[in-house]
């Protein structure tokens, strides 16, 4: 009986306020789509970090006879210099940081170069002797790269020590900026959504102020008075959240998995449908909670006994 009455009241409110309810749905829809996009971008960054940081190495480039940068003076690194660097890598100072390392010779470097740039005109111009020999070091913790750079940069025969994560950080900063923008827009839109829900509920309460007055007079409990309005807000907002969820799944399915995967090929991993589906319940819960909170605050003025 009471449940039916409460639902009936909520339904009446929604019907009387159709245009406001539609605007609440749209604003929640758009704001939560941005929230979802921001979450997905963060997931993407996390995935890429996991994927690339595992592969990122510190490269210790040895001199070739064409180099005059670093500690080189246009002379190929000698066997003694190479052994000295290797000895340092095995020394008690550096060993604890290092997971494993391997030595890349001119021939291996040439082979990798040809593999990566096959078909490019530059590939045919390069000869093995101009490509640096290098130690490829995998660290236990990629954040310790500075230790290696400091210890090895000064060594004779070393041209350069490079943390390959440096290349990735630029990509991540772009993605982070995009994610921050999405969060910023989402925050603004969420404020708009919360205010709009509050206004809608106030309007709805105002149009029912006679009923509310009588309810208070005859001793309806605050919860009873409040619930239809909260339900009204939550209902509209959940519709918007579901639409946002559909949009997010659509974006991942058709844009990320459809277009981006085609374009980028296998160069990196991308967020998939599974990630999108974990975002959807988050969006719905956020939408429902925000609506419930703002509706309760909006209606509290009418509950003063």
């Amino acid at each position: 009986m009471r449940l039916g009455l409460i639902l009936g009241e909520a339904g009446n409110g929604l019907r009387r306020n159709v245009s406001m309810v539609i605007s609440v749905i749209l604003v929640t829809f758009i704001s939560l789509t941005f929230v979802g996009a921001a979450i997905l971008l963060q997931m993407q960054i996390g995935q890429m970090k996991g994927y690339w940081y595992d592969r990122a190495q510190v490269a210790v480039y040895m001199c070739t006879d064409v180099d005059d940068t670093g500690n080189c003076s246009q002379a190929e690194a000698t066997k003694t210099q190479i052994d000295a660097v290797e000895a340092l890598l095995n020394s008690p100072t550096l060993k604890p940081y290092i997971d494993k390392y391997e030595y890349e010779t001119h021939e291996q470097a040439y082979q990798n170069f040809q593999d990566q740039l096959s078909g490019s005109p530059i590939a045919s111009l390069v000869t093995p002797d101009v490509l640096n020999e290098s130690f490829r070091v995998n660290l236990k913790n990629p954040d310790d790269a500075d230790v290696l750079i400091e210890s090895l940069s000064g060594q004779a025969g070393v041209q350069d020590v490079q943390d390959q994560r440096g290349y990735l950080d630029q990509i991540f900063s772009v993605l982070n900026a995009a994610s921050a923008t999405a969060i910023g827009i989402a925050a603004l839109m969420l404020i708009a959504a919360v205010l709009l829900i509050a206004t809608t509920i106030r309007l709805s309460a105002f149009s029912r102020r006679r009923e509310l007055g009588i309810m208070r007079l005859v001793g309806a409990s605050n919860r009873f008075i409040q619930t239809p309005f909260v339900l009204e807000g939550v209902f509209a907002s959940v519709i918007g959240s579901v639409l946002a969820g559909v949009a997010i799944v659509g974006i991942v399915q058709f844009f990320v998995q459809g277009v981006l995967v085609q374009t980028l090929g296998t160069t990196t991993t991308l967020v998939g449908l599974g990630d999108a589906l974990t975002v959807v319940p988050i969006l719905i819960v956020v939408g429902a909670l925000l609506a419930a909170a703002s509706a309760s605050v909006a209606i509290s003025r009418y509950l003063k006994v």
Partner: protein, 245 residues
């Protein structure tokens, strides 16, 4: 049943209190008229009993509850023991007579079965048994007030508060409403009625409490609208001249 102990009520921003050190007791089953000019504090008095306001000073007890310390969340349950009727009826225009009365019971969670029994009883008692499917705008003023009274008493409250219930009605219709209130009173409900209607007060010969600028100047058994006996409370120097027509 209702007890005021030196109750004062001052609204923020005003210098003169709406009620000034009012003490009185109303017993179970009494029929009490509350008279006084507009602004004399009648409405504040009723609002205090309803716990729509809390007193600035003094203590109020209604139905054994100390209203000063009654927490807000318990107020709705307290109000279920009171019935209220207003000058402007306050019916819901989009609900039928039956639904208007049933609404009261629905919102306090009464069962459908209870409502199906109690509402027709209440409508029969106020003499509207045949009009339960009408809408308020199809009824006369007197009939609308009867619906409002049915709504106020359908939950069998211990106290019925009436704020100028005959203010919008002609004398003949008012008399009908008064008969109804008297009948409700006879069934054991305490009735407290604020009114300007001298004829009704004079005719009924019930207890009369007169307020002037927030103070009780008269509390008379079987009184009239204007004082005819020596007032029970003295010491308010200015009241005699103010009471004069």
């Amino acid at each position: 049943m209702i007890r005021f102990d030196s109750v004062s009520k001052a609204y923020p921003g005003t210098t003169r209190p709406a009620l000034n050190s009012v003490s009185l007791e109303i017993l179970k089953g009494e029929f009490v008229f509350l008279v006084g000019a507009s602004g004399s504090g009648k409405s504040s008095f009723l609002r205090l009993i309803l716990r729509e306001e809390t007193p600035t000073k003094g203590a109020i007890h209604v139905l054994g509850q100390h209203l000063n310390s009654l927490p807000n969340r318990k107020v709705p349950y307290f109000r279920r023991n009171l019935g209220v009727v207003f000058q402007d009826f306050r019916l819901l225009p989009n609900k039928t007579v039956f639904d208007n009365v049933a609404f009261t019971l629905q919102v306090i969670g009464k069962s459908r079965g209870f409502i199906q029994e109690a509402v027709p009883d209440a409508l029969k008692m106020v003499g509207l048994a045949g009009k339960s499917n009408r809408y308020p705008h199809e009824l006369s003023g007197g009939e609308q007030q009867r619906v409002a009274i049915a709504r106020a008493v359908v939950n069998k409250p211990a106290i019925l508060l009436a704020d100028e219930p005959t203010g919008n009605l002609d004398p003949a219709t008012s008399a009908g409403i008064m008969t109804l209130l008297e009948r409700i009173n006879l069934s054991g409900t305490t009735v407290l009625m604020a009114t300007h209607d001298a004829g009704i007060v004079d005719q009924m010969k019930r207890r009369v409490i007169e307020l002037i600028t927030g103070q009780i100047v008269r509390d008379e058994r079987q009184g009239g609208y204007q004082t005819q006996a020596v007032p029970v409370q003295q010491g308010f120097g200015s009241f005699t001249s103010e009471v004069a027509p």
